[in-house]
């Protein structure tokens, strides 16, 4: 990763939702969501299935139209500075594509020449541990490698904000850990702001700086220490939640002083 565009003061927000309502079709799933995502933060959108975590993310990104409220972007954050790893990629079966082509499609909308494109694709694949596999067919890769190619496609944009939507579905434990380590490294070393959608509280407890607990048409939003508490988690998940420490994995950022989970 080489550049991430114009530096932004830490106090400035990258993306802000003000009284946001979100949904799909005619259905409103979430109402009155207020949150500010600042540079370098590692956000987790948490909740049980079908509560609206992905809907919230997709609305913030403009993939889904908002139902109400406002979405504000900070200085220097435009489409070019956003990377997105979707929950799944509905690739037509056996549509021929190589890792290089697939990752290069992440550069759509950016003015990059061929040489720059090749450099970015090579760098992004190297960052996710797939260096040298540029010419390999997407279909000849394992599920974990395909997931990393999806991340590489987002990283090739050299984003300032990376949004990752439930990437751990169907991943084995090792691949899941490798992916999380990769994102944690990007967040800690490169200052990449990450929004990560998952139902896994333990992962959030380990890596998050901030959390949005999505439940019952609303989202409780704030620093991890304020929200990952047993009573709040039980209310959001409808059952007692146990946080399991992730042994052997370093946190994305040093935990705030006095923070407890």
């Amino acid at each position: 990763m080489t550049t991430r565009g114009t530096p932004v003061e830490r106090s400035e927000f990258l993306l802000r939702a003000v009284d946001l309502s979100a949904g799909h079709g005619r259905k409103t799933v979430l109402e009155g969501v207020n949150l500010s995502i600042r540079p370098g933060e590692f956000w987790f959108f948490l909740g049980t299935n079908a509560q609206g975590k992905s809907t919230l993310l997709n609305t913030l990104l403009g993939v889904l139209p908002k139902k109400g409220g406002a979405i504000e972007t900070g200085r220097g954050l435009d489409r070019a500075a956003i990377g997105y790893v979707p929950q799944r990629c509905d690739l037509a079966p056996n549509l021929p594509t190589t890792a290089h082509e697939f990752v290069s499609l992440g550069l759509v909308g950016l003015a990059v020449d061929r040489a720059e494109r090749d450099v970015r694709v090579r760098d992004a694949l190297a960052e996710v541990g797939l260096g040298g596999l540029e010419r390999k067919s997407y279909w000849a890769m394992s599920g974990g490698q395909r997931q990393r190619v999806l991340v590489a496609r987002a990283l090739a944009r050299r984003p300032r904000l990376l949004c990752v939507d439930e990437p751990m579905n169907n991943l084995d434990l090792v691949t899941e850990r490798n992916l999380l380590s990769l994102l944690a490294r990007q967040n800690r070393d490169e200052g990449l702001t990450v929004v990560f959608v998952t139902h896994d509280v333990s992962v959030a407890a380990h890596f998050a700086t901030h959390v949005a607990l999505v439940h019952g048409r609303a989202a409780d939003v704030g620093p991890k220490a304020q929200l990952l508490k047993p009573d709040l988690l039980e209310r959001a998940y409808g059952a007692p939640v146990t946080i399991v420490p992730l042994v052997g994995m370093e946190p994305a950022r040093p935990a705030p002083i006095g923070a407890t989970v």
Partner: protein
């Protein structure tokens, strides 16, 4: 072979129109195949046939012989309108929280197929017209047809060349495409263009030729290419080469050229599948 060259002065416009149609459908077909929406082409063809049937009924019922309502131009406009309408209906009616894409495609296909025959059954020469459209006969193209299809092909080729990466991303991963700023208007625009192209080609070349040339060259390209972007070059080349060969062979053997071309493409696809299975073995 000599028989083909002998027929050139008489059928030059027919051949040229068919080859431009082949190149045009080869290009558009890549997007259809990349989105795994192969039967959209068949459904749009049937909707277009329904439009022609309704147009003929309107002409027969309310207009006198020689009126614009009985002209080829009017039938072409109706065919295109129905094709575009069907393409937009399929694009807009499927998605999150809606009916599946296959279900809407099947509905449009069956409605078009059944209603067209019902509407046209009592019209003089109506069933002949429907059978002609279904069977594909490209005889009778004019110099205007050649210019129209050449223009459509060139416009499509330029648009594909300029926005090829966005098009492939849009076909592969519409959510990602939206997240990086590809407008949601693309869905409607792509559907409308597909409808326009299919409506125009159905009227001139019939269903079999149009549907066959839409999907078969792109499927051949899908099986011989290692990446999606080269399909935009390979598919039109396969389409034009097959239609040239099909027209020459059909002419020499005194068979229907359109059906010869489609059969040839089916053979090529079978070979491509075979080659692919050996490659992966």
């Amino acid at each position: 072979m000599q028989a083909f060259f002998d027929s050139w002065p008489l059928f030059r416009e027919t051949y040229l129109a068919a080859w431009w149609i082949a190149a045009l459908l080869g290009l558009v077909g890549v997007l259809v195949v990349a989105r795994d929406q192969i039967f959209v082409g068949a459904a749009i063809s049937q909707a277009s046939t329904l439009g022609i049937a309704l147009g003929m009924c309107v002409g027969a019922a309310f207009a006198s012989e020689g009126s614009v309502w009985r002209s080829d131009a009017f039938l072409s406009v109706v065919a295109v309108a129905f094709a575009v309408g069907a393409a937009l209906l399929i694009a807009r009616s499927s998605g999150i929280g809606k009916e599946s894409h296959e279900a809407v495609t099947g509905f449009v296909y069956l409605l078009g197929a059944s209603a067209a025959v019902l509407v046209i059954a009592r019209s003089p020469h109506g069933l002949d017209e429907v059978q002609k459209l279904a069977g594909s006969s490209v005889i009778g193209a004019s110099a205007v047809d050649v210019r129209i299809f050449a223009g459509l092909t060139l416009v499509t080729a330029v648009a594909v060349f300029v926005r090829r990466r966005a098009l492939v991303l849009f076909a592969m991963d519409p959510l990602m495409a939206r997240a990086v700023g590809v407008s949601r208007i693309w869905d409607g625009a792509a559907a409308a263009w597909l409808g326009l192209v299919m409506g125009m080609t159905i009227r001139s070349a019939g269903m079999l030729f149009s549907f066959g040339l839409l999907v078969l060259p792109a499927l051949v390209a899908k099986n011989v290419c290692r990446a999606t972007l080269p399909m935009f070059v390979v598919a039109p080349l396969v389409a034009v080469a097959a239609s040239v060969a099909g027209f020459v062979a059909g002419n020499v053997s005194n068979q229907n050229e359109a059906q010869f071309t489609v059969a040839l493409l089916c053979g090529l696809l079978a070979l491509a599948w075979l080659a692919r299975s050996f490659r992966h073995a």
